[in-house]
């Protein structure tokens, strides 16, 4: 029998970092399901590959750093990073893209900066950007929705494409991506961007088969899935409402202004919201607390900045989607935002520095 000493407070809310991470992974399930439904097994395979790589990489680095492996390995942060990366990759990207990306995310972006809580950048997005810049060909080979494909792609076909580059029948990725009519299909954002450079109007672009009735076949549902997951997270108080809110609002306002100014060359606000990785970014990536701003005011600014950047890059930049770049740029700005959005301490007057 022994007495023991602890520092107050003695009771504690039963929440843990790992639980938080698990919750976020669960919340991604609707989006992943939509992705599977519309694009097949590709992303699931990538997610699996990324998770395995991430765990191996995390384990290696933690043992090299003499850290407690059991607690840190399963705190869920590495798995979450891997899941997010797997979701973002093109479904038919070769397997080594995932391995490199996942390894880079965990070892370089996360652990080399000091591990969980010390990384200035969102690991998944940093890895994505690295891959996009290093392997532009593989990273832009987006698979069109299954419904638009000329052939039927099964799990075995996807596996074969990812690991060998060809389906068992001998089709390459390029051939898979080709529409029945003989042209290569891209993502809706890509399509619009290409069409605008070709001198077509947005309305004309909207006729493209990948876009379908609304904002892109499958893409609207994937985004809806992530929105659902995000609302679930908000409901669970796992994430703060501030960043997604300000991000979506900012994107809405920017695209609205753009649309007002030149309706011909600008897509609608809802197109911006429901294509690409907008909802994933809003609820799963920008809300990453480690690389984001901390105060309420700071988060509002952070989200708004991200929205503005996404719009600017989508509209004027060289890349069709912009979430990853916008997130990295905002990550860089986060410490500065924090510095200037410190709340006024109780009993202190604003602006009076000691």
């Amino acid at each position: 029998m022994a007495f023991w000493i602890a520092s107050s407070p003695h009771n504690h809310q039963q929440s843990e970092t790992s639980a938080l991470m698990r919750l976020v992974i669960y919340a991604a399930i609707p989006g992943i399901f939509a992705q599977w439904y519309f694009f097949g097994w590709g992303n699931l395979i990538h997610i699996l590959l990324a998770v395995i790589t991430a765990i191996v990489a995390e384990f290696t680095v933690l043992s090299l750093r003499n850290k407690k492996i059991t607690t840190q390995l399963f705190d869920g942060s590495a798995i979450l990073t891997a899941v997010l990366l797997g979701i973002s990759l093109p479904a038919l990207a070769p397997w080594w893209i995932t391995i490199i990306g996942s390894f880079f995310a965990i070892v370089v972006v996360k652990q080399l900066y000091g591990g969980l809580g010390h990384n200035p950048f969102n690991p998944a997005m940093a890895a994505y950007v690295m891959l996009l810049i290093s392997f532009p060909l593989q990273m832009t080979q987006w698979q069109p929705p299954l419904s638009l494909l000329a052939m039927d792609i099964q799990l075995t076909d996807t596996l074969a494409v990812i690991f060998t580059g060809y389906t068992p029948q001998g089709y390459s990725v390029e051939q898979i991506r080709t529409h029945i009519d003989g042209f290569t299909m891209a993502t809706p954002l890509d399509t619009v961007k290409t069409n605008i450079t070709l001198g077509l109007t947005v309305v004309e672009s909207m006729q493209a088969p990948t876009i379908g009735k609304h904002f892109g076949v499958g893409w609207e549902w994937i985004n809806a899935g992530f929105l659902l997951g995000g609302i679930f997270l908000l409901f669970k108080k796992a994430i703060q409402w501030t960043t997604p809110f300000s991000f979506l609002l900012s994107l809405f306002i920017c695209s609205f202004i753009g649309f007002i100014i030149s309706p011909d060359s600008s897509t609608s606000t809802m197109f911006h919201w429901f294509t690409g990785a907008t909802m994933l970014g809003a609820f799963f990536i920008l809300t990453d607390p480690v690389s984001g701003a901390t105060s309420v005011k700071g988060r509002l600014i952070f989200g708004a900045l991200a929205g503005l950047l996404v719009y600017l890059i989508r509209k004027f930049g060289g890349y069709p989607d912009a979430i990853a770049f916008a997130v990295l740029l905002c990550n860089m700005a986060a410490p500065l935002i924090d510095q200037y959005t410190r709340p006024r301490t109780y009993g202190h007057k604003l602006g009076v520095k000691k």
């Binding site: 023991w4 107050s8 407070p9 504690h12 639980a19 988060r299």
Partner: protein, 797 residues
């Protein structure tokens, strides 16, 4: 804009930032009545139970005290007295563990109750309105009341504020989970609490009195509303339950919308806050003349069979209360004093209840996991989720504070207003990474406080060091100045041509002569190796003597005691050397003895000489002259061997003559040893004069000089005594030499020596003069040595 009161009446309050809703767990105790106080076997009463200084103890071990009797007295406003919670005996006053997070010990009074609970005489005062304000304040101070909500700030300081008070806020919020002590106190004693509020109202005369109470205490709210229904300026404010609304700053913000500026007391805003329990204690003290000796303590937690509120005497060990409530947790124990949010762990259950103890929590493993259990979660890295900042009632940035605290970045910590943290624990409560944030802040705060103290201390040390350096510099300059002046004065005297100047000059001359003599001696030593042993020995002895004396003279210049002692030591060493030579050359025994006697005389003279400067100088002159005389032939003889031998023979003759003169005297002494003893015993002036006369005679005989007379005359009492002792020794030496040459038995010799020693001792004792004693001791030592040496010589003979 509506007034604060209007808003309150509409039930519309302000909000403070953040806050949390931990499980309240008040149901465990809030429905049970307060159990009456029981007297434990022993009460441990710390003498300091509040913020401030301890009072002075006015009881001692073994005293019998009555209930309510003062155990310590306070003299300053920040010190409070303590009282005996029941009647009994003080069995010990010792250092015991006190209720403090550190578990450190402080002085406690141990009271063993007699079980009779006899009150001291009390003066009940039914109407406090009849008392003057000063009298009420005195009563509050004498009752030892300090804030009973947690911090323990002396109450009379709070209620004697001179500031104009707009709001008196009675804090009944009790926002911490588990604690229901105030709740129950209001339910059962609302009239007394109201009396207390009225007393404080009378003292402070505030415009409004607001009673802040959380809406989860329905019964207490009813009781308060009923009690205050007919008083206009008292508002019972039912505020929403949220931790930490009971914090002073938070409650002020909720009720008045004002923020207490950092580092300022609420009284500067015209707000004073009192806890309900304190109000109860005030009423008890002023009306019933009952000092603060008991309080309501919530003993709660699921490890207890009967969690309940109890009246506990101050000083009751926690273990007594938990066993009273059926504590049955046999495995890992965790006792918390205070609530689960801000309380602290106790190292054992013999910690006493003090004035600010409102709760003892004995949680089960399910409620609060121990660090040993598998269910407890460990600290992981901060993920910057920002939940801590969202709940912080002081609107701090806990995570940034945490990083700075870990990095020990003290400037950044103070920039982030660490000291505005009220340590409520809300941040650590919500942290998903289980970081003990508050602990980091406490450590950082303690470090900063310590660092500030160290800085102050370093600054003080620096100032003192600089001051000391300056002082030493000043002293050095002053000393140099003094020396310069002394040198100038000496120069002036030498130039004046007075006798003193002459003597000084002669001293210089003497020194020169001495150097010459030494040189000569060196050459002689080299030359005389092949000459006859006798003459060489004689010569060497003579020279030694000369040198010896010269040395002694040199020492005369020295002023302080220690130096004269050194001189004596040197002389003694010389004597030793001589004695050794004596042993080697028995044929020249006579001469040797004489030499020795001379040397001992000189050295023993050195001591008394010290005492009187004039005497010293005179003696120096005398001796210098003697030396000159000795040295001169020596230096002459350095030229030729023959001359030198001649001179030494002459000297030896001189010395022999002295010995011969001494001898008869010694004989006379021998015959009348008893007489001598008498003489020494009552060293009256007459005896001394005799002795000194003898000494001077001796000197005149051996070295006829006019100066030696001066010397003797100038000697004061002490010198005279010393001289006498020295003379006695000289005589003894003569005796010994005689006996040695006669080769009589050594037994007699030693007897005589011891007799002489005792004589010297007696002389020393009678005079009771330190310096004389020193001289005597030296003389004694010499006598012994000589006795030994002559003993040796005789044996070898």
């Amino acid at each position: 804009m509506e007034s604060v009161i209007e808003r309150i009446q509409r039930g519309n309050f302000w909000q403070f930032h953040g806050g949390i809703h931990p499980p309240e767990q008040k149901f465990l105790t809030c429905t049970k009545p307060i159990a009456s106080a029981q007297i434990p076997e022993q009460l441990i009463i710390p003498i300091r139970q509040h913020i401030g200084q301890a009072g002075d103890l006015i009881v001692k071990v073994g005293d019998k005290v009555l209930k309510g009797q003062e155990l310590s007295a306070s003299d300053t406003p920040m010190s409070l007295p303590i009282h005996a919670p029941t009647s009994g005996t003080i069995t010990a006053i010792k250092s015991m563990a006190i209720p403090h997070p550190s578990g450190l010990s402080e002085t406690c009074v141990i009271l063993t109750p007699d079980g009779e609970d006899t009150w001291k005489q009390r003066h009940i005062c039914p109407d406090f309105q009849l008392l003057s304000k000063a009298k009420i304040l005195e009563k509050i101070a004498n009752a030892g009341i300090s804030g009973m909500g947690g911090a323990g700030f002396p109450t009379q300081v709070k209620v004697s504020t001179l500031a104009k008070i707009d709001y008196l806020i009675i804090n009944a919020a009790e926002c911490e989970p588990y604690i229901t002590a105030d709740d129950l106190l209001i339910q059962e004693h609302s009239p007394t609490i109201l009396d207390g509020i009225k007393i404080v109202d009378h003292l402070l005369n505030p415009k409004n009195i607001l009673i802040g109470i959380e809406d989860n205490k329905t019964k207490a709210i009813d009781a308060l509303k009923k009690a205050t229904a007919d008083i206009d300026h008292i508002q019972v404010c039912v505020i929403p339950t949220k931790y930490p609304s009971g914090g002073e700053k938070q409650l002020i913000q909720i009720l008045t919308g004002q923020e207490v500026p950092s580092g300022v007391l609420p009284s500067s805003l015209g707000i004073v806050m009192q806890n309900v329990a304190t109000c109860f204690a005030i009423a008890d003290a002023v009306i019933n003349d009952t000092p603060l000796i008991k309080r309501v303590v919530t003993v709660s937690g699921q490890a207890l069979e009967k969690p309940q509120n109890v009246w506990a005497l101050i000083g009751t060990p926690v273990g007594f209360l938990t066993s009273q409530c059926g504590y049955n947790n046999s495995k890992n124990r965790h006792l918390i004093m205070g609530g689960p949010m801000m309380g602290f762990s106790l190292p054992h259950d013999q910690i006493p209840v003090i004035k600010s103890t409102n709760c003892i929590l004995a949680p089960s493993e399910i409620e609060i996991a121990s660090p040993f259990s598998s269910t407890s979660s460990k600290e992981v890295e901060c993920i910057r989720c920002g939940q801590c900042a969202d709940v912080c009632p002081a609107q701090l940035l806990p995570q940034e504070l945490q990083w700075s605290a870990k990095a020990k970045d003290q400037p950044q910590l103070s920039k982030l207003n660490l000291f505005d943290c009220i340590e409520c624990g809300a941040c650590a409560y919500v942290c998903p990474s289980q970081i003990p944030l508050v602990h980091y802040y406490r450590v950082a705060k303690a470090e900063i406080r310590q660092q500030k103290l160290l800085d102050i201390k370093a600054e003080k040390a620096k100032v003192r060091f600089e001051a000391r350096k300056q002082r030493l510099e000043r002293e050095k300059i002053a000393r140099a100045e003094k020396h310069k002046k002394a040198a100038e004065a000496r120069k002036a005297r030498m130039n004046a041509g007075t006798t003193a100047a002459k003597s000084e000059k002669s001293a210089v001359a003497d020194a020169l002569a001495r150097v010459k003599a030494k040189k000569a001696q060196a050459s002689i030593n080299a030359n005389t190796t092949d000459s006859s042993t006798e003459s060489t020995a004689e010569n060497a002895m003579a020279k030694n003597t000369a040198e010896n004396t010269a040395e002694a003279v040199t020492q005369v210049d020295q002023i302080d005691e220690s130096k004269s002692q050194v001189a004596n030591a040197i002389a003694r060493a010389k004597a030793k050397k001589l004695a050794q030579k004596n042993q080697a050359q028995i044929d020249s025994l006579d001469t040797l003895q004489d030499n020795e006697s001379t040397s001992s005389l000189t050295s023993s003279q050195a001591a008394p000489v010290v005492i009187d400067k004039k005497a010293k100088i005179a003696a120096a002159i005398a001796k210098a002259k003697a030396k000159k005389r000795q040295a001169e032939p020596v230096s002459n003889s350095a030229n030729t061997q023959a001359d030198h031998i001649q001179a030494s023979v002459i000297e030896a003759n001189n010395v022999e003559a002295t010995t011969e003169i001494l001898k008869p005297e010694v004989h006379a002494k021998e015959t009348a040893i008893d007489e001598k003893a008498h003489q020494a015993k009552d060293i009256t002036s007459s005896g001394k004069i005799n002795n000194s006369a003898e000494a001077s005679e001796n000197k005149q005989q051996s070295k006829p000089q006019p100066a030696s007379q001066n010397d003797t005359l100038n000697l004061d009492r002490k010198a005279k005594i010393a001289a006498a002792v020295a003379k006695a020794k000289a005589k003894k030496l003569a005796e010994k030499s005689q006996q040695g040459s006669d080769a009589t038995s050594s037994t007699i010799e030693s007897n005589q020596a011891s007799e002489l020693t005792s004589q010297a001792n007696i002389a020393a004792n009678t005079v009771a003069n330190k310096k004389a004693r020193v001289a005597a001791a030296i003389a004694k030592a010499k006598a012994k040595k000589l006795a030994a040496s002559s003993d040796k010589s005789s044996t070898s003979e």
